[in-house]
């Protein structure tokens, strides 16, 4: 696939109980209202971009999806109570042998400005011979 395509968009307010549960599950010990560095992936899942939605949108077989890489750029702090608009874009889908790579970029906007940028690669692994 060439060119960019919007995959999903949502608006939500970051909820304290979600962040607290995430901190505990993700081994994050720091106190305070700011979200942990890897929290935004959870925000996506909790805000409608479920695993099923993601695989349907990418036309990936949900039985064989792996996470290849993930990067975050933190521009402004994001904390409990912040209203976030997230725009999820697929920037490319490329097959390579029995693998298909999807490049995804997400911008998390707070008060009209980019607060966090995410880039990830998801991999659909066809066949069952090798990891």
């Amino acid at each position: 696939m060439k060119g960019k395509r919007e995959l999903y968009r949502y608006k939500t307010v970051i909820k304290k109980h979600h962040v607290e549960a995430f901190k505990q599950a993700a081994f994050w010990m720091e106190e305070g209202e700011e979200v942990p560095p890897t929290y935004m992936a959870a925000l996506d899942f909790q805000s409608g971009m479920t695993f099923q939605t993601l695989t349907e949108q990418l036309e990936f077989d949900p039985a064989c999806v792996l996470h290849g890489s993930q990067s975050y750029e933190y521009i402004k702090p994001v904390a409990v109570g912040d209203e976030i608009e997230a725009i999820v874009i697929v920037t490319g889908i490329s097959p390579k042998r029995n693998l298909t790579f999807a490049k995804i970029e997400t911008t998390y906007i707070k008060n009209g400005e980019s607060a966090i940028r995410s880039k990830s690669v998801l991999i659909e692994r066809k066949g069952d011979s090798h990891v």
Binding site: Q24, A25, A42, Q46, F51, A63, L66, H67
Partner: protein
């Protein structure tokens, strides 16, 4: 070099992470689904491995994280002893590497990070 950390992610940790994050890819929590996908068993979420790396970066130094980049090089399985290693590549500019491997030395995650120097 920063002080090396050791950590083991259990099956219970993986289930807790699936619930708290909402990442319900069945290869993490359902052994049958993992086998159907050609895996020997359930694997740990890459994002949970990355979370360990993020925690280590914050424990190693006091400045807020400006960027974090992780490549998941190999599957991480529950109950593997993981070693979290890191060092500055340019301490003055706050740029470093973080790597997670098992005790055999198989690299699970290779990452880079940068921190905000002189943050208020």
């Amino acid at each position: 070099m920063f002080d090396e950390r050791e950590w083991t992610i259990t099956e219970k940790d993986v289930h807790s992470y699936a619930l708290a994050s909402g990442d319900h890819n069945p290869i993490h929590t359902n052994a049958e689904a993992a086998k159907k996908a050609g895996l020997p068993g359930c694997i740990v979420h890459g994002m949970l491995v990355m979370a360990l790396g993020a925690r280590a970066v914050r424990e190693w130094q006091p400045d807020p994280i400006r960027s974090l980049d992780a490549r998941f090089q190999a599957m991480t399985y529950p109950n593997e002893l993981l070693r979290i290693k890191g060092s500055w590549t340019n301490g003055e500019e706050g740029i470093g590497i973080v790597q997670i491997e098992n005790k055999k030395g198989d690299i699970k995650m290779k990452g880079t990070f940068s921190v905000k120097r002189n943050a208020l």
